[in-house]
């Protein structure tokens, strides 16, 4: 007896169709084998399938069962072959046909229930692309798959239910997509109005959010750098439909979508600890998994205590910061992940942290400070537009000070993003920060003589490098967008100059 069940495997963000061929031989000793380069997790599928079928009160055939995963030369990973194998065996035992143009995907528990399985969104997209009609996925993953319209997503709870469906005893209602949106309290840990003082830092955060600029904050411990960064998601604009799908795909591939999860509509915020490995940050593994930078795609990557990150990890950020995506190549597989994020980095001014502190004395020598600052890679600093110093705040002095809420700042950010979206309709970029020099000429001509004069004088008195010179124009463009100004004027440029790199690190 032979049956072919369709399934698929995800390699990075790409999906490859896999045929699960099952043969139950009428001769030979009872055995259950999986061939076709299964990994350990796939091979263990045998035990899960056998036990789940038995626990669903179905007799497991004591025959020679061979499962082949084709194409047989691609290494197979993951636990989602459980459902196609079990469905195939059930169909053979029940002498039933499986529904046509259908994909099966999901992990089994020993009691015969289905578990939430990663990558269902990618599977659904693949099914639609291939012109298939039905996909059978675990119930907990069905909402994720149902994001894709135009195919029937069958939410499966258990093998019992699937068997009843095969026998025509019950009908299973295809899942309907239900969007879940976070309310504004859930968006960020803090509201901007909870951050006391730090007016300039907050303004810099607003500019960073509006133009997608990277931001570097230097300040003593307790000055509020971390709090400010954690308040940032509250002022980021919502993702548009295209961005939303991009981000959700990455999260689906990484298995970061919770059961019954839906499209991710808010900018992601990732804050990995500084002990992170290079593979953890950039992505990697023998079958390359997305790293933190890809999980922060279209959102914010916050690297606190930036100087503590290993140099090799820091340097690895260079290429993705420039390109907005990266390809991870390993001997077994290759995967390309997008990684267009806002980098927010923060560090202390010196090893003890109290350099320039109004009350505490710094105990570091000049040599130690120099060594500390040298830990930050120059090329990375070059790719950061906004640089600010965060002063220590006397909380007692400031309590009761009225400040703007995140909601209000967010409105301005959303408006500025809309202006940029329209500006770059014909380009492949979305934000001012992504502009290359050719874009600057086209979209930011410094028409006003006074603006050019100001910038040139600043370049002389502040010793701006060529790269900083262009950064200033980009920041000025964002400031003008926040104001809704058509053209960059003197005040915009003057403010932009405040965010230049004032400390030299190397």
């Amino acid at each position: 007896m032979f049956i072919k069940v369709s399934s698929a495997t995800n390699l990075g963000l790409e999906t490859l169709g896999v045929d699960v061929e099952i043969n139950i031989a009428s001769h030979g000793l009872p055995t259950f084998e999986i061939v076709g380069l299964p990994s350990k997790a796939v091979d263990e599928s045998k035990e899960r399938v056998r036990t789940a079928i038995i626990n669903s009160n179905i007799e497991f055939p004591a025959r020679r069962i061979i499962v082949n995963l084709a194409p047989a030369d691609v290494p197979k990973e993951g636990s989602f072959y459980d459902l196609p194998i079990a469905a195939g065996i059930l169909a053979l035992v029940l002498k039933n046909q499986l529904p046509k143009k259908s994909l099966f995907f999901g992990e089994l528990s020993l009691e015969g229930k289905l578990r939430h399985t990663r990558g269902c969104l990618l599977l659904a997209l693949f099914a639609k692309e291939q012109g298939l009609e039905n996909i059978f996925v675990p119930k907990a993953s069905a909402n994720e798959a149902a994001i894709v319209s135009g195919i029937k997503v069958f939410p499966i709870e258990s093998l019992d239910q699937l068997m009843a469906y095969f026998l025509g005893k019950i009908q299973i209602e295809p899942a309907k997509y239900q969007a879940k949106e976070k309310n504004k309290e859930e968006r960020a840990e803090f509201d901007m109005k909870e951050v006391l003082g730090q007016e300039q830092a907050k303004r810099a955060a607003e500019i960073a959010a509006a133009g997608g600029h990277n931001l570097f904050m230097v300040g003593s411990p307790g000055s509020g750098k971390t709090m400010l960064a954690r308040a940032l998601p509250g002022i980021l604009p919502p993702l548009n439909e295209k961005e939303s799908l991009e981000v959700t795909k990455i999260y689906s591939a990484a298995g970061n979508i919770p059961p019954d999860g839906s499209l991710i509509s808010e900018c992601p915020f990732r804050a990995p600890h500084h002990t992170i490995s290079q593979a953890g940050l950039i992505g990697g593994g023998s079958t390359p998994q997305p790293g933190e930078i890809s999980l922060a795609h279209r959102g914010v990557l916050f690297l606190d205590e930036f100087t503590e990150f290993p140099r090799s990890v820091m340097e690895a950020l260079r290429q993705p910061l420039e390109d907005g995506h990266l390809t991870i190549s390993r001997s077994k597989a290759r995967a390309c992940y997008p990684a267009r994020f806002i980098l927010i980095a923060s560090s202390n001014p010196c090893p003890c942290g109290y350099l320039y502190h109004p009350q505490k004395a710094c105990i570091c020598s000049q040599r130690e400070i120099r060594k500390y600052r040298k830990r930050i890679s120059g090329p990375i600093l070059d790719r950061i537009d906004l640089h600010i110093e965060v002063p220590v705040v006397d909380v007692k002095e400031l309590s009761g000070l009225e400040t703007e809420s995140s909601e209000k700042i967010r409105e301005r950010v959303v408006r500025a993003r809309e202006v940029q979206r329209k500006r770059f309709l014909t380009e492949k970029i979305f934000t001012n920060a992504e502009m290359k020099n050719s874009h600057l000429k086209k979209y930011c001509p410094l028409l006003k003589k006074e603006v050019r004069q100001l910038l040139n004088r600043a370049a002389l008195s502040f010793h701006l490098s060529a790269r900083s010179f262009f950064k200033m124009i980009k920041i000025a463009r964002t400031i003008a967008d926040l104001e809704g100004a058509e053209e960059i004027a003197v005040p915009h440029m003057a403010e932009a100059l405040q965010y230049r790199m004032k400390v030299h690190y190397e």
Partner: protein, 299 residues
């Protein structure tokens, strides 16, 4: 540490007629020989002022050193210091900036540059007709005891010692002590009582050091006139530069009270972070104010 090529010819024995007379006043403690780099010419040793201070220089210390030394060195006084980072290095730099001459007394052998990251400053001193001297030959490494020994040469070469910022157990106090023994004039720059860098200064004031209020005080001591065209200004007086807007004037008025961070400035003036940034940038370009370590002060 950077090693230089050996050049043992540049050496002056205590018996040499070129040996600085002021230094001989150290008596038995006078160094037996001085190794040097640069051109040994007697003029440079004629009118020397030692400028010493803390390694942990504050932005105030930096500002004052720059201001005073540039006016003093501009009038032809040689600035002597210990080539350490902080006030010492700042004093050398300020002297070089106005084309003045300066002498660096090293705590290590003459063939070493210490600290090595100041090698650029080292070369600048030599290029501007300055001197680098040391009592130690070759590649003698600096050790804990060579720093205070070095200070006696700094004091010994100078007619007066100016101390800018000194902590409780600062090396600058050792220099001042040598100056006291040699009956040289000790001049101090006052600091706020709350600052740890004023502890040593206040100690010196109690021991009857003189307080400097403008470069003219020091120039009068040397019997010199200011050769710059601009008048020496009292350090706290209003600046004669005119700013065009009332907000700029208000900012200057605020900053004259004390240097402060941009956020504090904005709060005191009641304007937003973006507004203040716009004004501050323009004022910085005009040279009205200067930012240093996150704080702004009137230039």
């Amino acid at each position: 540490m950077i090693s230089l090529n050996q050049n043992s010819k540049l050496k002056i024995e205590i018996s040499d007629s070129r040996y600085p007379k002021l230094l001989k006043e150290l008596g038995r403690d006078a160094p037996k020989q001085l190794y040097y780099r640069g051109n040994w010419d007697e003029n440079i040793l004629e009118n020397c002022l030692a400028v010493v201070g803390s390694r942990r220089m504050s932005s105030y210390g930096k500002q004052i050193t720059e201001k005073l030394v540039s006016e003093i060195a501009g009038a032809g006084i040689t600035i002597v210091s210990g080539f350490m980072y902080g006030i010492d290095a700042q004093a050398h730099k300020a002297a070089l900036e106005v084309g003045g001459r300066t002498i660096a007394v090293m705590p290590c052998g003459i063939d070493l540059i210490h600290p090595d990251y100041q090698s650029e400053l080292y070369q600048e001193i030599l290029k501007n007709n300055g001197l680098v001297v040391s009592e130690y030959e070759g590649k003698f490494l600096p050790t804990l005891w060579t720093y205070p020994r070095r200070n006696r040469i700094v004091a010994g070469l100078s007619k007066a010692v100016m101390v800018v910022e000194a902590g409780e157990k600062s090396g600058s106090l050792i220099t001042a002590n040598f100056a006291k023994k040699l009956k040289r004039k000790i001049i101090v720059v006052t600091g706020p009582l709350t600052s740890s860098l004023a502890v040593g200064i206040n100690q010196l004031i109690k021991e009857a050091a003189e307080v400097v209020t403008s470069a003219r005080d020091i120039l009068e001591f040397f019997g010199r006139e200011l050769i710059r065209t601009t008048e020496t200004r009292s350090l706290s007086a209003d600046r004669d530069r005119v700013s065009d807007s009332s907000m700029e004037q208000r900012i200057i008025a605020e900053l004259q009270k004390e240097p402060m961070e941009i956020d504090f400035l904005a709060r005191n003036l009641g304007i937003s972070a973006s507004e203040i940034g716009r004004i501050i940038s323009v004022m910085e370009i005009k040279g009205l104010i200067q930012g240093e370590n996150g704080k702004y002060y009137v230039h």
